[in-house]
């Protein structure tokens, strides 16, 4: 049995046709299950717990990367396989997992190739993509036996998985490591200044003067100090043959 979590935006008329096609394909492939339409009052964890008791083995997120990240926390705690039907053609996660847009994703879900991939933890919360510090402010990164001091006017991105089409580069989601990118954002020298790249599996982020926000997966925010590490748990995710890893 499958559990389906619909993003709240799917109520919008512009998604009506797409959702009809997706639901028709789900019926064709005999992948029926229970549906939760997200809103502030619905408890995703409880929905998953109840579903698992009834024999559910997979939760399918129908939405965009933010929807996927929102469901991730509960899915990790319940240790259930995740699938993704993207309704955003530019979805980074879908590109990485090799999942096509809309109803075409249903065949991939039915094919059920499951990969185990790395998940990040930030102060005991899970994240899949990246953690962003938009504007560093006397920030310090403690990694192993050394410290990296980053002054003002730098952007710090701690990537678990990412895919940049321009450079055809991917942060490998199965190597157990993060990639920490630091790049200068302001000043006339910023274009010529080389970025910093460090790979690690654990970093402590602190800020000397005041607490600064860290945004993870474009969804949630945590303030410094923040402990970021690769989680012991892995995400079981359904992928397509065109996956990037």
């Amino acid at each position: 049995m499958y559990l389906y979590i619909y993003d709240s935006c799917l109520k919008d008329k512009k998604y009506e046709n797409l959702l009809t096609k997706i639901e028709a394909r789900i019926i064709d492939l005999d992948m029926k299950g229970e549906v939760l339409r997200m809103n502030l009052l619905k408890n995703i964890s409880q929905f998953l717990k109840d579903g698992i008791k009834k024999g559910a083995h997979t939760v399918i997120v129908i939405g965009d990367d933010k929807t996927f990240s929102t469901v991730l926390e509960s899915a990790m705690l319940e240790n259930i396989v995740m699938g993704y039907i993207p309704i955003d053609k530019k979805s980074k996660f879908a590109q990485i997992f090799g999942i096509p847009y809309g109803d075409l994703a249903c065949a991939i879900i039915g094919g059920r190739i499951v990969e185990k991939i790395d998940i990040g933890k930030i102060n005991n919360k899970f994240f899949l993509g990246s953690v962003l510090i938009e504007n560093s402010h006397n920030t310090e990164l403690k990694i192993d036996e050394f410290k990296v001091r980053v002054g003002r006017g730098n952007k710090i991105i701690i990537k678990n998985i990412d895919f940049e089409e321009e450079n055809f580069s991917i942060s490998n989601p199965t190597d157990g490591l993060f990639e920490i990118f630091i790049e200068k954002t302001g000043g006339f020298m910023s274009k010529n200044s080389k970025h910093t790249l460090i790979k690690t599996n654990e970093v402590m982020v602190t800020s000397k003067d005041s607490s600064i926000p860290l945004v993870f997966d474009d969804v949630q925010t945590i303030n410094t100090p923040a402990q970021i590490s690769t989680a012991k748990e892995k995400l079981n995710i359904i992928v397509g043959s065109n996956r990037k890893f």
Binding site: D144, E145, F146, K147, V148, R149, V150, G151, G153, N154, I182, E183, K184, S193, K194, H195, T196, L197, I198, K199
Partner: protein
Amino acid sequence: MFKKEGPQNIKNMETIIGESVILEGEFNGHGNIVIEGKLTGNLSTDGHVLIGERAEITANIKAGSAFISGKVIGNITLSDSIDIAKTANIQGDIKANSIAVESGCQINGRISIGSKISETPKKILKQEILKERGE
């Protein structure tokens, strides 16, 4: 012969320390490392180390090989080769299997190449430079 292995090879590097950051402590990396910023402490890797022109290193360096074009205060120990660019300023001892030096660099320390240990680094350097020029 001196190789101009400048930052154009940056894509193959596994760790890059850019100009905008300062690194302090024991940096034990793996693979190839580029340093364009400031580093204080110790640096070790099994791969290649590239010290950029604007880099300021106050650390002992242990690596497979190195290309130095910035400032290093500390001893450099390499299992393979070292290339020193004309912009380099090294204040410390160098141990390596082979050395290539570009005219104009500054070195203040003892140089040990292969099994040879020089008490007069200027002499060895002069010999290396003449050898490179084929004189």
